[in-house]
Every structure is written in structure tokens, then in C-alpha cells.
């Protein structure tokens, strides 16, 4: 098991390195003068040269790359051009908010997907499965930013039940903590609907197929022959096996949810990683864009790594295989 984790960790580190390299070289080698992307487009030649020198852009590419990489490994992504503060400070502020949103969305998404996947499996071939699948497909296909805007229109503007934007109400910091938590929770409802709930069918279909496959196995027949109630047959025997393929896509789903987070952060003005990226694009703030891109990639890699390890925990055969390797 340890060996398995170490191996996965090794390949994740390699990928992370490749990813950072990609971010650096794409930003440097894209068509156009890089210093224009660093906010010097309107300056005259002498000032441009000064900027180029100050940013270190007149040094050899390899040296710049090495310097950037060394900075990044120490958490130094340079300074923001638009906000005049270290990029790392901005990231440190944004990442927890994105993780709060995606973390809760992740749990909610999988809980709903498992419940509805099991339901779909148990109702296979019935009319209600078909109806639910079509409804789920429409929900899955809704453009997230449009859905967000609609929810704001209905629940914030028209009904006034839920806040339309932000993490917390203005002045919430002065409230006692239970009310503060409640306030954040109210701000979370609509974004969670968009990224956690609406696309649930995508994952639920995997759960359904996995459970159906497991239900056809001999061990399920054996469990039924032992007189287990149907609920135990499904949740104890079928679901554990049916979830194995779902765990392998769990990492991919983190990337999927981060995508959703970008959209929702923009629509709901949630000051996280996605919104920071979009703001930086409009401000042509390249150090920030590079920082958010690299960090989003790193988070996804971390998610994949966790999914791999989880798979090893969930399937004793994988554990065994890696022990046998030794």
C-alpha cells in the first residue's frame, strides 16, 4: 500500500513539474512581446527597456524559467501588476474560498449521485427511470452561468430569499459565529445548486451502471441466498463494488467541479480562484494568471492523487497487487 502511494506520488510530482513548465513557456512563447502582457504596452522604447530589465525579461529564457520555478516551489509567484501585492497573498486568500465551495459541492455531488444512481439502478427499465434520466440530462446540460443567473433572478431578485453574491453579507464579521456560519451557508446555497446539484446525472450514471453490473454478480446472488434484506444487498454488496469505477472518475470530477467553480464564482461574485483568474485577465495581470493556472492544475493533480489512493483503499485487490509487486 505504501509503495502504491509512493509510486502515485512520484508520478504526480513529475506531472506537476511538467505542468509548471507548460504554464511558464506558454505565457512566454505566446505570440507578441511578453512585456506587453506585463502592462508595458503604452510606454516608449526607453521605458520598455527598463521594464524589460526590471522584470528580468532580458535574461536568457532558461534563466528566467529557473528563477520562476524556484520562486514557485517556495510559494513565490511574483507580484501582481494590478494590485501591487504578492500573488501568493492573493492566492492564499482565494484558494480557501474556492476549496470551501468545491469541497462542499464535491461531497454534495457524490452523495446525491450515489443516492440517485442507486435509485436509477433499482428502477431500471421502468418508465420513471426514463423520465428521471431525461430530466437529469436537461439539468446536466444547463449552461452553469445561465442557471446561476436564473436562480439569482428568481430567488434573490424576485423572491428575495437568498443573497445573490459574495461569501458573506457586509458587516457579517461583527455577528456572533453561529450567525456568521448561517450567513455563509445562505450564500452557498445557490452556487452549490449550480455546481453540485445540477450536473448530478453525469456521476449518477456511473453509479447506476456500476451497481447494475454488481447486481448481476454471483456474490450478490450468494448474499441474497443468505437472506440479507434487499437494502443490505444493495448498499453493502452491490454499491461497494459499483462505486469502484466511480472512484476512478472522482479525481476527474474535481477538475469538472473546479470548472464549475470558475463559472459560479463569476456569476455569484464569489471571490475565489476562478474569479481571480477572470479579473486578472481583464487587468492583463500575468503573474496572477500564471499563478492561478498553475495552482488550479496542482489542485487537480492533488485530487487525482487522492482518488488513486482512495481506490487503493477501496479495492483490496489493488492493495494486494501492489504488495505482490514488492
Amino acid at each position: 500500500m505504501l509503495l502504491y502511494v509512493v509510486r502515485r506520488l512520484g508520478s504526480a510530482v513529475l506531472l506537476l513539474l511538467a505542468l509548471l513548465t507548460a504554464v511558464f513557456f506558454i505565457a512566454r512563447l505566446a505570440p507578441g512581446d511578453p512585456i506587453d502582457r506585463f502592462g508595458a504596452a503604452d510606454l516608449d522604447a526607453a521605458d520598455r527597456a527598463a521594464v524589460r530589465h526590471n522584470l528580468g525579461l532580458d535574461r536568457p529564457l532558461a534563466a528566467q524559467y529557473w528563477q520562476w520555478l524556484r520562486g514557485v516551489t517556495r510559494g513565490d509567484f511574483g507580484r501582481s501588476l494590478s494590485r501591487h501585492q504578492p500573488v501568493s497573498a492573493m492566492l492564499a486568500e482565494a484558494v480557501p474560498r474556492t476549496l470551501l465551495l468545491t469541497g462542499i459541492a464535491y461531497v454534495l455531488h457524490f452523495a446525491l449521485a450515489v443516492a440517485s444512481g442507486v435509485w436509477l439502478a433499482r428502477n431500471r427499465g421502468r418508465r420513471r427511470e426514463r423520465v428521471a434520466t431525461v430530466a437529469g440530462l436537461v439539468l446536466y446540460s444547463l449552461p452553469a452561468f445561465w442557471l446561476g443567473q436564473l436562480l439569482v433572478l428568481v430567488f434573490s431578485r424576485a423572491l428575495g430569499w437568498l443573497p445573490a453574491s459574495g461569501v458573506a453579507a457586509v458587516g457579517a464579521a461583527w455577528l456572533p459565529w453561529p450567525q456568521r456560519v448561517l450567513d455563509v451557508a445562505r450564500h452557498l446555497v445557490l452556487p452549490l445548486c449550480v455546481i453540485g446539484v445540477a450536473p448530478v446525472l453525469g456521476t449518477a450514471r456511473f453509479v447506476r451502471n456500476g451497481v447494475l453490473e454488481a447486481l448481476g454478480q454471483d456474490y450478490v446472488l450468494a448474499a441474497r441466498a443468505r437472506g440479507l434484506p434487499e437494502r443490505a444487498v444493495i448498499w453493502r454488496h452491490a454499491l461497494r463494488n459499483g462505486l469502484l469505477p466511480v472512484v476512478t472518475i472522482a479525481g476527474l470530477n474535481l477538475a469538472f467541479l473546479l470548472n464549475g467553480a470558475v463559472v459560479t464564482e463569476v456569476v455569484f461574485a464569489w471571490p475565489g480562484l476562478g474569479r481571480l483568474t477572470v479579473e486578472a485577465i481583464f487587468a492583463r495581470d500575468y503573474p496572477v494568471i500564471m499563478g492561478t493556472t498553475a495552482l488550479a492544475g496542482a489542485l487537480t493533480l492533488l485530487g487525482n492523487l487522492l482518488a488513486d489512493v482512495l481506490y487503493g483503499v477501496a479495492d483490496p485487490r489493488v492493495r494486494l497487487a501492489s504488495e505482490a509487486d514488492r
Binding site: D218, A222, R224, R226, L228, R236, R240, P316
Partner: protein
């Protein structure tokens, strides 16, 4: 007989819905099994044996229609609601399946699976269930039972898995054990070991046994009586020795002829020279006519079939064919 038998199957039929006419997998099967009685159900694969076994447990898929009666000490199981049948399974009926690797859940430990019946039927706690699992595994002579209980099925050998499966089936002390080709996937030596163990446990616990197999040679090892099945019907039934030593139905003879004599445990599937009858439109009378060397026009007449060779020995064949065959003569 004063008391009702443990299990009495009366005119049981199973049909599967599908495209076109239903597939009639089991037709008009009747037999009785006394308490602690042992019966082997023999036939070729696809002959309806396993379907019959699952019908007794009530575990057929929703596409199956079951008619007739399965009387358990007088209670008709077919008519019972699913909730009650579920209580019957595991408690009164135990099942051992053919492929022990497939029949054990790869993500649960062996001990978990052996004990889970106890947890649901008897409400045993986690610790009590674990202890029960270990003693059950010891009863099936799994070496180092306590350690094996914590293992996942993949760490066990084929024979060990089959023993574990047997332990799980025995957990709640069933009165009838149904074993569906329990040793077909094992090596010959392991096969003999597991069979002897099963026969011994059945005797020791006073259980009844329904042993489903395609291998007639295994039958005397575990069962007193044998019932031979072809195309969903019972064609011959009687004491195991008598059926093997003096087979009266042409199909039973064919099954026996397919066994290599020197290696009685190493039976092969009887070669199907010709396909069986169409299960959607079974012919009237004996289903074996299409392959039978002694077939004659009267075989299509249901009422002409049937011969009682002894009190407990019946053959579903024309008396003028089955009689001479049972005496070892060639029918005219």
C-alpha cells in the same frame, strides 16, 4: 408417513418471459425430501437444474414466472410474500454456488461474509458475529481460521474459498443445503475433499441436502437418492446406487456413458450429440425423443410414459423401453 416431508415440490414449473413465446425452463417437476434426506439433481448444463434450485430459494429474476407449489413442512413458499421468503433464505435454506471466487464479494473480508447472515437474522453484534465466523470457518476446517476471517477472498485458494462459502451457507443453521455444482471449478483432489467435508457436515448437522451436478459419478459420494433432469423435466428418480447401476431412462444411460470409467471423479459434460428440444415449444410427451435411440411414436403420448420399478424408483419412459433397460437388456 405421519409428518409432512421437510420439502415437497409439487408440479413446479418455471417460464422466462422474453422475445416471443416464454422459455419453459422447468416443467412439471415433483419430488419430496424428508428431513435429513439427501437428493442429487443430475443433468446436463442448461437442463434446468440451477433454475430449479433458485426457484426453491425464490431468487429467480423478475422475468421468471413460477407455478406449482414448494411446500416447506406444509407452507407453500411460492405463495409467500417476499419479506417472509427472505427470512426463509439463510435461516432454513442455505446455498453454495459453483464458482467460489465469483460468489465471494472481493471488497468484503471472508469473515464479514460468513457472519453477515447471523447479523441480519439473529441480530448479532459485530464482535459476536466475528467470533461466530471464526468458529464456522474452523468447522469447515479452514486452517488458521481467525487469520483467514480477516483476509479478503483473493488471498484464499480455490478450495479454501469454497469452504468459506460453505461456512457462510451454514451460518444460520439451515435445515436444507442447496449446493449448485459446488466443486465444478476445483481440482480433482480438492473436489473430493470438499465433497466429503460437505457430506460429513450435512450428516453431522442433520441437514437435508439438494446436490445439483452434471456429474453422475459424484452422486453416490454425497446423496442417497438421485433425480435425473432433462430439458426441464425429471426423467428418472430413485436410490442413487440403483440409478447408477441400473439406469432405466435412455438419457441416464447417455449421461453414464459420457463418464470416463477410470476417473470417476473427473466427469465431463455429456456430449450433446443433438440439440435438445426447443424450450419455447417443447414437444408433447418425452422431451428426449430427439436424441433417444429407442424413440417410437408412443413417446409423444404423455399417458403412456411412466414406470414404477420399485416403491421409490420411477422412470418417465415407456415401460417396454425402460423395463428392459433397467434389467440391462436391449429393448425390442
Amino acid at each position: 408417513m405421519s409428518a409432512a416431508p421437510l420439502l415437497a415440490v409439487e408440479d413446479l414449473a418455471v417460464a422466462f418471459k422474453g422475445d416471443g413465446a416464454p422459455v419453459q425452463a422447468v416443467r412439471g417437476v415433483s419430488f419430496a425430501l424428508p428431513r435429513a434426506g439427501t437428493l442429487a439433481l443430475v443433468g446436463e448444463s442448461g437442463g434446468g437444474k440451477s433454475v430449479l434450485a433458485l426457484a426453491l430459494l425464490g431468487l429467480l429474476p423478475a422475468t421468471a414466472t413460477v407455478s406449482g407449489r414448494v411446500l416447506w413442512e406444509g407452507t407453500d413458499l411460492v405463495a409467500l410474500p417476499e419479506r417472509d421468503r427472505q427470512r426463509w433464505r439463510g435461516c432454513k435454506l442455505g446455498l453454495v454456488l459453483q464458482d467460489p471466487l465469483a460468489a465471494l464479494n472481493p471488497v468484503l473480508t471472508v469473515g464479514d461474509q460468513v457472519a453477515e447472515g447471523l447479523r441480519y437474522h439473529r441480530g448479532l453484534g459485530r464482535r459476536a458475529a466475528r467470533e461466530a465466523a471464526v468458529s464456522l470457518l474452523a468447522e469447515v476446517r479452514l486452517p488458521d481460521a481467525a487469520a483467514r476471517a480477516r483476509d479478503y477472498p483473493h488471498r484464499l485458494s480455490g478450495g479454501m474459498r469454497q469452504r468459506a462459502l460453505l461456512a457462510a451457507a451454514l451460518a444460520c443453521g439451515p435445515e436444507l443445503l442447496i449446493a449448485d455444482e459446488p466443486t465444478a471449478s476445483l481440482d480433482v483432489t480438492v473436489q473430493a475433499e470438499v465433497l466429503d467435508l460437505m457430506a460429513e457436515l450435512v450428516r453431522a448437522r442433520g441437514m437435508a441436502l439438494l446436490f445439483v451436478t452434471h456429474n453422475l459419478a459424484l452422486v453416490p459420494r454425497v446423496a442417497e437418492r438421485a433425480a435425473v433432469m432433462f430439458a426441464g423435466r425429471l426423467v428418472e428418480m430413485g436410490p442413487a446406487r440403483a440409478v447408477i447401476e441400473a439406469p432405466a431412462h435412455p438419457f441416464t444411460r447417455a449421461l453414464l456413458a459420457a463418464l470416463p470409467e477410470r476417473w470417476p471423479l473427473h466427469g465431463r459434460l455429456p456430449a450433446a450429440d443433438a440439440p435438445g428440444p426447443d424450450p419455447r415449444r417443447p414437444p408433447p410427451g418425452c422431451p428426449y425423443v430427439c436424441r433417444c435411440p429407442h424413440a417410437r411414436p408412443a413417446c409423444a403420448d404423455e399417458s403412456a410414459l411412466g414406470l414404477a420399478l420399485a416403491d421409490d424408483r420411477r422412470v418417465a419412459c415407456l415401460p417396454e423401453v425402460a423395463g428392459p433397460l433397467a434389467r440391462g437388456e436391449v429393448p425390442a
